[in-house]
């Protein structure tokens, strides 16, 4: 019993180290005065550079946030309506649409990226931040679809029939019954969409126009000229922001559940 517990705590510690050691090192070196991996003393030098001398970097952060929020919002709306349609309506080609809807989940990103690039070139759409938004919306919709469908499947369609029976029009049923019921699924779909959009590199790489660089693209281009400690500082800021977001999201969820 005791040795078993000892074994599992060793495994636990190793896993935690495996996950977080790189982050700890990263945080540590963001405060390193030296530009190399040798320790040159404690300093806020890279934070200073990050906040006061990195306009293009902040520009890309701004781009990323814009794309993430807008594509998250649009894909949540489209994905939610799609999930309602697929779960609770009957129509021709429903099965096919279902498969087509989930296909992007398993397609390699590079294929989606290349196909979008060819498509945009074909319809003569100039690559810009707008094409990045379109691309992100495209790959986000299936995730929202999946989250909302999973939520809707917990409910019996007869509650929608009951709403109609009690005098509801289609729009009443959607706004008063379906969306409130699916809300936890819709919210998690939105959060996943925003996260995926923020971190996407491969697809964005293909469809971003000049000056439409997102944060991952910018970081990649910085790394090509050697790892700048500014990136370490930026990472720490992002880790802190994510942690705050995750904690507050947890509270939001608790609030919703309690409500």
């Amino acid at each position: 019993m005791n040795s078993k517990r000892g074994f599992s705590s060793v495994v636990f510690t190793l896993v935690v180290l495996f996950f977080y050691l790189p982050l700890v090192i990263l945080i540590l070196f963001s405060f390193n005065h030296s530009k190399t991996m040798s320790w040159g003393g404690l300093s806020f030098r890279w934070y200073e550079e990050l906040f006061f001398h990195s306009r293009t970097l902040w520009n890309s952060v701004f781009n990323s946030v814009i794309v993430a929020l807008s594509s998250g919002l649009i894909s949540t709306i489209v994905g939610t309506l799609g999930a309602v349609g697929i779960s609770w309506y009957d129509f021709r080609g429903k099965r096919m649409l279902q498969v087509a809807g989930f296909l992007p989940l398993i397609l390699p990103e590079i294929i989606i990226g290349v196909s979008l690039l060819i498509f945009f070139a074909g319809i003569k759409l100039k690559l810009s931040l707008f094409t990045v938004f379109l691309a992100h919306t495209t790959f986000n919709i299936p995730f929202v679809l999946l989250m909302v469908t999973a939520r809707l499947e917990e409910f019996d369609f007869s509650i929608v029939e009951a709403a109609y029976d009690l005098g509801a029009r289609e729009i009443d049923a959607l706004l008063r019954i379906i969306i409130p019921l699916a809300f936890p699924g819709i919210l998690s779909g939105f959060l996943i969409a925003v996260t995926l959009s923020l971190e996407d590199f491969v697809i964005t790489f293909f469809v971003a126009g000049p000056g439409a660089s997102t944060l991952p693209l910018h970081v990649y281009s910085m790394i090509r000229f050697g790892v700048s400690p500014v990136i370490n500082a930026l990472s720490v800021v992002i880790i802190a922001a994510t942690a705050v977001l995750a904690l507050s999201a947890g509270n939001v969820f608790k609030y919703i559940v309690r409500k």
């Binding site: 019996d156 509650i159 029939e161 009951a162 029976d165 009690l166 005098g167 008063r176 409130p180």
Partner: protein, 369 residues
Amino acid sequence: MKGSSIRTEKISKRFGSFEALHDITISINKGEFFSLLGPSGCGKTTLLRIIAGFENPTAGELYLDDREILALPPNKRHINTVFQNYALFPHLSVFENVAFPLRLKKTGKRQIQTTVEEYLDLVKLTAETNKLPQQLSGGQKQRVAIARALINQPSVLLLDEPLSALDAKLRQHMLIELDAIHDKVGITFIYVTHDQQEAISVSDRVAVFNAGKIHQIGTPVEIYESPADGFVAIFIGETNFITGTVREMADNGYALIDTGPIGSLIVNADKKVSIGDTVKMTVRPEKINISAEDPQQLAAHVNVLRGSVEEIIYTGFQSKYFVNVADTLFRVFKQHINCRLNEKSISWKDRAFIWWSADDGYMVEVVHR
């Protein structure tokens, strides 16, 4: 009467090659408590869904007070439904569930408050106003569903197996309450069930369904006491069937049938028969008397048979005897009216006499010669 009449005219419904309903013509009166009774898959729920507007028939017409309503969507029919699984909105409180139809109509706040309270009072649920559906018991959920369906003051209320999810005791209780609510609101109730006991205990009339067809429409007494055919007889309670050939017609409305080894039986000639026809007759187990001693001095037109008791099932308020008469098993139910029996008691493997009045036997099927 506040309710409306409902009339279906030759309604048929096909799902692919499966015919769920075939030429259903029913006329339901204003304010009536009408049951659609049948085994599962007999089409009764499909008919209910057609009346509610969730399903369109393949052919036929549907009238609400002489107005054709098939083209109307469910929310325009003045018909409301109590669903089998209640279909309560899980994210809304009891109050908001019941208030839902009023909120859609943009009724004033104070009006909603008083109306909802009135209907929660009707179903005796005023104490649970702020609970969520998941915090309620099955019976309470049922009451919410009923209040919610009634608050629009529909002219017809449809109930789709509303008690099937409740346990037996509660079912009895809710049934009585449903009947009371029906008396209070006075509208037409159409009640779908597969439970014959439920149907015959509260309904004004019952339609017995099987395989998409109506077998009989009548009052509970008519359906139980003079079933139109063998299906109705066996579906509504237990019964005995005996097949024989008509040997003689008596002019006072009885026929004598020859049943082979059992012997000759006298039976009500309630169907058109002539000598030589093959008939299937039925007699309810509780209509048959049983005794260990030869019953003497019986009135005229009584069938007396002799057999041996194969099985006795004691159920408290009655005993069920299975009596073998010439290799035909008769079910005989005997009430325990008093337990100090002054007659010889019957036990397993005993010889016993069974007898019933010819008026209690009915013909359910006739094959003309």
